[in-house]
């Protein structure tokens, strides 16, 4: 029909594309000028102002958002530029891309929670070669890729805390089932392994037994629920479902409540207090555990700041003075144990607002 206008159509296509690009630019310029930085992103912060980036696993999870609060607070108190970077997708390659693109921005330190601790190592090493200090928190990377690791709870401590929570829910013990996030999450696999060992060997937990096969829910709420229900069906004696994942533990408990099994089966593990407040108050569950993510983020950021300003080095024995958050000593392999667990019960749940 318009064959004689084919050239015209081609030009129009090009113009349309240009228009599209212009629209994109216009539309995104408005969103791009709202970074979560505290200073404009032209890189013209005062030359002597320390710049620290915090990179969580991904930005969509409330847990990391709470940790960010701690980092922001550290920035305000100590007077440095704190920026929160990352993608909203729980994808290892995306996180690596975020970090690779963080390096040219020349921050003084990075505070990272790694999705894939080994895959992220080359990028972190590159950062260190560029003079950037690297501190990991919550989930470690390969040991030689970072300066310090602020570990919220040592794996042994974490395992025993979760078992304690299980006993609080079911004082007479019983059969325990595990839901983890993914077979490749090193902290979860370590937790489960140690929990099994403790149940086998420690007399304190002798009233507990466990299902050997571990289920994996990938931090997905719906999958956690379906798995919890299936586990209950497959193991009629199941008493407690334990999960290190702050998404899976409350979801499993919700599934138990939905199925009308409150009081017969319990779910516990690590969870944000806001997620489990109702369970504790209604008596569906007796105890959940965690730590203060804001304080963890605060300590990690302060440690990064002190490293960057040369106040401390990453050697064993160095002391990180985090002011009101306490003092922490650097241990072996640059690991710093935060070790301040919290046990939430119906009595104290109102004290926590995160």
């Amino acid at each position: 029909m318009f064959s004689h206008n084919r050239n015209g159509r081609r030009l129009l296509g090009g113009a349309a594309a240009a228009l599209a690009a212009a629209l994109l630019i216009a539309g995104c310029a408005s969103t791009a000028t709202t970074p979560t930085a505290t200073t404009p992103d032209e890189g013209v912060a005062p030359a002597d102002m320390i710049k620290i980036f915090m990179a969580p696993k991904f930005t969509g999870l409330a847990y990391f958002e709470v940790a960010k609060v701690g980092g922001v607070e550290a920035g305000e108190e100590l007077g440095f530029d704190f920026q929160y970077i990352g993608s909203d997708q729980p994808d290892a390659t995306t996180q690596i891309s975020t970090l690779t693109n963080a390096i040219p921005q020349k921050p003084d330190a990075l505070v990272v929670s790694a999705i894939d601790g080994d895959a992220i190592a080359p990028a972190l090493k590159l950062a260190r070669e560029a003079g950037i200090k690297v501190v990991t928190y919550d989930a470690d990377s390969a040991v030689d890729a970072r300066d310090l690791f602020i570990n919220q709870l040592s794996y042994e401590f974490a395992a025993s805390i979760m078992l304690d929570a299980a006993l609080l829910n079911s004082p007479d013990g019983g059969l325990v089932g595990f839901i983890s996030a993914s077979p490749t999450a090193p902290n979860h696999t370590a937790h489960v392994k140690i929990m099994k060992e403790l149940i086998d060997s420690d007399s304190k937990y002798s009233s507990l037994s466990y299902i050997d096969t571990v289920q994996f829910a990938g931090d997905d709420a719906q999958k956690s629920q379906d798995l919890a229900l299936a586990m209950i069906q497959a193991n009629p004696d199941l008493k407690v479902i334990i999960s290190s994942s702050a998404v899976s533990a409350p979801s499993a408990q919700q599934a138990i409540v939905n199925a009308g099994l409150s009081g017969k089966v319990f779910a516990t593990g690590f969870a944000l207090p806001s997620s489990v407040k109702d369970f504790l108050k209604n008596g569906d569950s007796v105890a959940f555990a965690l730590w203060d993510p804001a304080e963890l983020g605060y300590v990690a950021t302060v440690a990064a700041y002190q490293l960057a300003t040369g106040m401390i080095t990453a050697e064993e024995g160095q002391v990180i003075d985090a002011g009101k958050a306490g003092k922490y000593t650097v241990g072996k392999d640059g690991e710093v144990l935060y070790d301040k667990p919290l046990m939430f019960t119906a009595d104290n749940i109102d004290n926590y607002d995160f």
Partner: protein, 336 residues
């Protein structure tokens, strides 16, 4: 392949968009225009480029393969395991490529011989191959990879990473394959009309299986690059990245129904996506905005030209006078 300007229209649009994206990115962040940074950032997209190249012939034939990321995972853990067992790369790499090509061929056989829909088949193998990757990798994955397997991740020619050069070379090879070989011609023919192609004597099943095997092999090769760049391998490598690869192929103007598309456009599409992403990341644009931009790009890049065409059609329909002029023209010509 006719090399007229008209048939390269989409490539021109992409180039224009890339230029705009580059300008936009450099206004977003002063760090963007640094050549060293750009080359470092571009390394990140090597894996996706290879997968997109592997996907290209399959889509041209009118099919799809969403299991490529899982095949990559199998490739990466296989290479990892072979590497730490001391097997030299000259043996390990071909072996892995063979296995991945075989995985691809399984897809191809199910689609071409059993006649099952490719979306469903590759939906199944997406899970199945991911499971195989986990089984090979075990709990903790593989680390401590010997040096020789890591060369592609860090080697450079001057300041240009070897892996980036590799991408350009593969893009060139793909162009030659699709434009100048029988396989390429058959692929376009099958994509346009597979029944007619079969009747014309085109070996449809073999070409289909070939394309899938090639896709599997390129995913396996991307697995090698993964190991080289990230110096490790786990069962969940590249999980969820297939949507990005499909986005790249679609953005390259390859019709999802098959029969059209140019290989160089795939490289251009990745460059465009890379330019946008790198710019946004260098400026620490919030993750949610990044997702919005990429999603909008897909819709706008196809939707806006269509909108314009529709508008043109509507405007032209309001001018009946023009039609009589056209008829008169024809009459004059025939008389002469």
């Amino acid at each position: 392949m006719k090399l007229t300007l008209r048939s390269w229209r989409w490539e021109l649009i992409l180039v224009v968009l890339i230029i705009f994206a580059a300008i936009w990115s450099s206004t977003l962040s002063p760090y963007f225009l640094d050549p060293v940074n750009l080359l470092n950032s571009s390394q990140f997209f090597v894996i996706f480029s290879l997968m997109a190249f592997g996907l290209f012939p399959i889509v041209v034939q009118g099919e799809i393969d969403i299991s490529l990321a899982s095949t990559l995972a199998v490739g990466s853990v296989m290479i990892g395991k072979l590497a730490v067992s001391g097997i030299p790369m000259v043996v390990g790499l071909p072996l892995t490529l063979l296995v991945c090509a075989a995985l691809g061929a399984i897809n191809g056989i199910l689609v071409a011989v059993a006649g099952l829909p490719s979306l469903v088949v590759t939906l199944g193998t997406l899970g199945a191959y991911r499971g195989i990757a986990f089984i090979i990798a075990g709990d903790i994955g593989v680390t401590g990879i010997p040096e020789e397997y890591l060369t592609l991740g860090s080697a450079r020619v001057g300041i240009v990473p070897v892996s980036v050069i590799l991408v350009v070379v593969v893009a060139g090879l793909l162009t030659v394959l699709m434009a100048f070989t029988r396989f390429g011609r058959y692929s376009y023919s099958i994509g346009s009309n597979h029944r007619a192609s079969r009747m014309a004597g085109v070996p449809v099943a073999a070409t289909r299986i070939g394309a899938y095997a090639l896709g599997g092999a390129s995913a396996g090769f991307a697995g090698l690059i993964w190991v080289a760049q990230y110096q490790s391998a786990r069962g969940d490598n590249a999980d969820g990245t297939i949507l990005f690869v499909v986005t790249a192929v679609v953005l390259a103007g390859v019709s999802i129904k098959g029969g059209t598309g140019h290989a160089p456009a795939v490289l251009l599409a990745i460059v465009l996506l890379g330019t946008l992403q790198t710019g946004m990341k260098l400026a620490n644009v919030p993750g949610t905005s990044q997702t919005l931009v990429i999603g909008s790009l897909l819709i706008i890049s196809i939707g806006v030209p269509r909108l314009v065409e529709i508008a043109r059609d509507k405007i032209a329909a309001l001018k009946p006078a023009q039609e009589t002029t056209t008829i008169k023209h024809v009459e004059v010509e025939t008389r002469v």
